[in-house]
């Protein structure tokens, strides 16, 4: 109550923002509503009981979380580097990093095969030297999802890194902090909201990823069959089942996001 009063004038929603926000929310939610309203509720339990669905769901969550983690580990440093001013060619690198967003996913899968497949320019060597083949493995799914999802994180984080006050980093240097200490103790804590947003973006994108995954990692149940692939296949034979599966995926994703929000996202 007091909190709410405290923010009243700054937090109130002016109509110029409220109206488009409501339209925007409606626009995003209406199709979901339609999906839910017209879902084949009666047959839902049948679909959900199938062990293949449970497998696919588990695999989806594992792979999307791994991909999001990989995207954070590699993407946050990359975003940080891209956000530093004064590097020559940084603009070009930044634009190139955006490319996987534009690439139709199937072509992304083809590109991954050409790079990391058995005959790919790096995959060839991986196969010969280390005996590692990525296609058709769960690792391959993670690779494909990371490839598709990481650019989202990188772009979101880059924006966040650019927004922070350089004064704090200066203060940290004068206190003798190394650049790594500055990054972990000053820079990163300042971009926690952006990091959360970026991670959610990457995770959600990875969870819904289909085209690149099926092209690069194929579809073998229990190993590479994620929910979106199961949905696609169900679409071929039984569109209602497909919608049901998609709803399961959604419900799980929303559930997880809400639970996480409650835990640590509303804290800072």
């Amino acid at each position: 109550m007091r909190q709410a009063r405290d923010c009243r004038d700054v937090a109130g929603v002016p109509w110029q923002l409220g109206i488009p926000a409501a339209i925007g929310a409606g626009f995003l939610l209406l199709p979901l509503l339609a999906l839910v309203v017209r879902a084949p509720w009666r047959s839902l339990p049948t679909h959900l009981g199938a062990p293949i669905v449970r497998d696919a769901l588990r695999l989806s969550l594992v792979c999307a979380s791994s991909a999001a983690a990989a995207a954070v580990v590699l993407g946050v440093p990359l975003a940080w580097v891209l956000s530093r001013p004064g590097w020559r060619g940084v603009g070009i690198l930044r634009a190139l990093v955006t490319v996987p967003l534009v690439l139709p996913p199937v072509v992304g899968g083809v590109a991954l095969l050409k790079a990391l497949g058995r005959n790919g320019i790096l995959g060839h060597w991986l196969d010969a030297a280390l005996g590692v083949t990525l296609p058709f493995t769960t690792a391959g799914v993670v690779v494909a999802e990371t490839f598709v999802a990481m650019p989202f994180l990188v772009l979101a984080m880059e924006g966040a890194f650019r927004g922070i006050d350089p004064g704090l980093e200066e203060a940290a240097t004068t206190l003798g902090a190394s650049r790594w200490q500055i990054f972990t103790r000053v820079t990163l804590p300042s971009v926690v909201p952006g990091l959360i947003a970026g991670t959610v973006l990457a995770w959600a994108r990875a969870l819904g990823e289909f085209g690149a995954t099926i092209t690069f990692a194929g579809n073998s149940p229990g190993r590479t069959t994620t929910m979106p692939i199961a949905v696609y296949l169900a679409m071929e034979s039984d569109p209602d089942a497909a919608v049901a599966l998609a709803l399961v995926l959604l419900a799980v994703a929303v559930g997880i996001l809400i639970a996480l929000r409650g835990r640590w996202l509303d804290t800072p």
Binding site: E170, T174, G176, Q181
Partner: protein, 358 residues
């Protein structure tokens, strides 16, 4: 850290502004840096701290070259071990006050426990022990400045740079922290630069004063000298003195002032002619409501009181005359003489109180 002198001579460019300077801060010496807003005080500290590079010249700490663009030498801020209190505090917003202060010790490789102990000690010293677990957003402005001070000191630096460390403190904390600072700085082996707008800080804390204006050094010396014989009107105003420019026109120290008027002065340093500046303490001027007769002061001139301001234990008169003057009198005198704005008065000052120098 073994103590070493810091020498800077060169130029620093920041945007369209250039600072051009040659100074040495000796180990153990506290140097107050004074100057108008925008004079380049912060820029000087930034150059020493390694946040803004020299454009030319060289910066050394003892035998170590910290910055020498000509020789392509550059030590980063991190390697310089310079403690800085920033004018805008720059506390880390997502850390508790304790963690803010522990940051330096942690960066220096102390264990978490040790660092926290050091931090707690410093916070207690600054009378902030109760607030140790708060975030910077949850404290007042003056409290924030004290945390910034504690943070810089906890890092155990070789050089200490303080950008208005007392500006946001209340008068009591200010006196206390000033005393504490003096005690701590007395133990401090390295050079200290203290930017301040308060002449008292300079007088009480500093061994030497640098006065900057528009990127250049305009006066340098011990605080007392600066306070007695200011070289510019700005410094004179800072220390509350009347200040005039003039030229020696007669024998025995008669100076004709630029603003009009003549003053009999005490000439220093074998000056016999040419341009001089004259300073005169407001409390060395006597006010009369009738022309003084047969008085010993050689300088007597009429004027009209423009304003009166009551300070704690004296009244400051702003008198329009040739030359104009600020005069301090006791409240009793005001009452006795019936002084008010618009009152016609005569001012007198002894020649021996009227310092002239170059």
């Amino acid at each position: 850290m073994s103590a070493a002198d810091l020498t800077l001579s060169g130029t620093v460019v920041r945007g369209g502004f250039t600072l051009d300077l040659g100074v040495t801060l000796r180990a153990g010496e506290i140097v107050a840096v004074l100057g108008p807003n925008g004079a380049g005080k912060t820029t000087l500290l930034r150059a020493i701290a390694g946040l803004t590079p020299l454009s030319s010249g060289r910066l050394t700490l003892g035998t170590r070259v910290l910055d020498d663009p000509g020789a392509r030498i550059w030590r980063s801020a991190r390697e310089r071990s310079v403690g800085v209190v920033f004018q805008d505090y720059r506390l880390f917003p997502r850390m508790s006050l304790r963690d803010n202060v522990a940051f330096g010790p942690r960066a220096a490789g102390r264990s978490r426990r040790q660092a926290r102990t050091i931090a707690t000690t410093w916070l207690d010293r600054m009378a902030l022990g109760d607030l140790a677990d708060r975030r910077p957003k949850e404290i007042s402005g003056g409290q924030a400045q004290r945390v910034a001070l504690a943070r810089a000191l906890a890092g155990d630096p070789a050089v200490l740079l303080l950008d208005e460390p007392l500006a946001a403190l209340d008068a009591a904390s200010r006196a206390a922290i000033r005393a504490d600072l003096r005690a701590h700085l007395a133990d401090f082996a390295g050079p200290v630069a203290l930017v301040t707008h308060d002449p008292l800080d300079a007088l009480v804390l500093a061994h030497r004063v640098l006065v900057l204006d528009r990127g250049a050094l305009v006066q340098e010396g011990p605080p007392v000298t600066i306070a007695r014989r200011p070289a510019t009107a700005w410094v004179a105003q800072l220390f509350g003195l009347n200040f005039y420019r003039g030229r020696v026109t007669g024998p025995g120290g008669l100076v004709s002032l630029e603003e009009g008027g003549l003053l009999h002065v005490r000439l220093h340093d074998d000056i016999h002619d040419g341009e001089v500046v004259v300073s005169l303490r407001p409390s060395a001027i006597t006010v009369h409501v009738e022309p003084p007769t047969g008085a010993s002061p050689r300088n007597v001139w009429p004027g009209v009181i423009r304003t009166l301001d009551l300070y704690a234990d004296r009244v400051r008169l702003d008198v329009d005359g040739t030359p104009p003057a600020r005069v301090d009198v006791t409240p009793a005198a005001v009452a006795e003489l019936g002084l008010a704005a618009g009152t016609r008065v005569w001012l007198s000052a002894k020649a021996t109180e009227t310092d002239a120098y170059r």
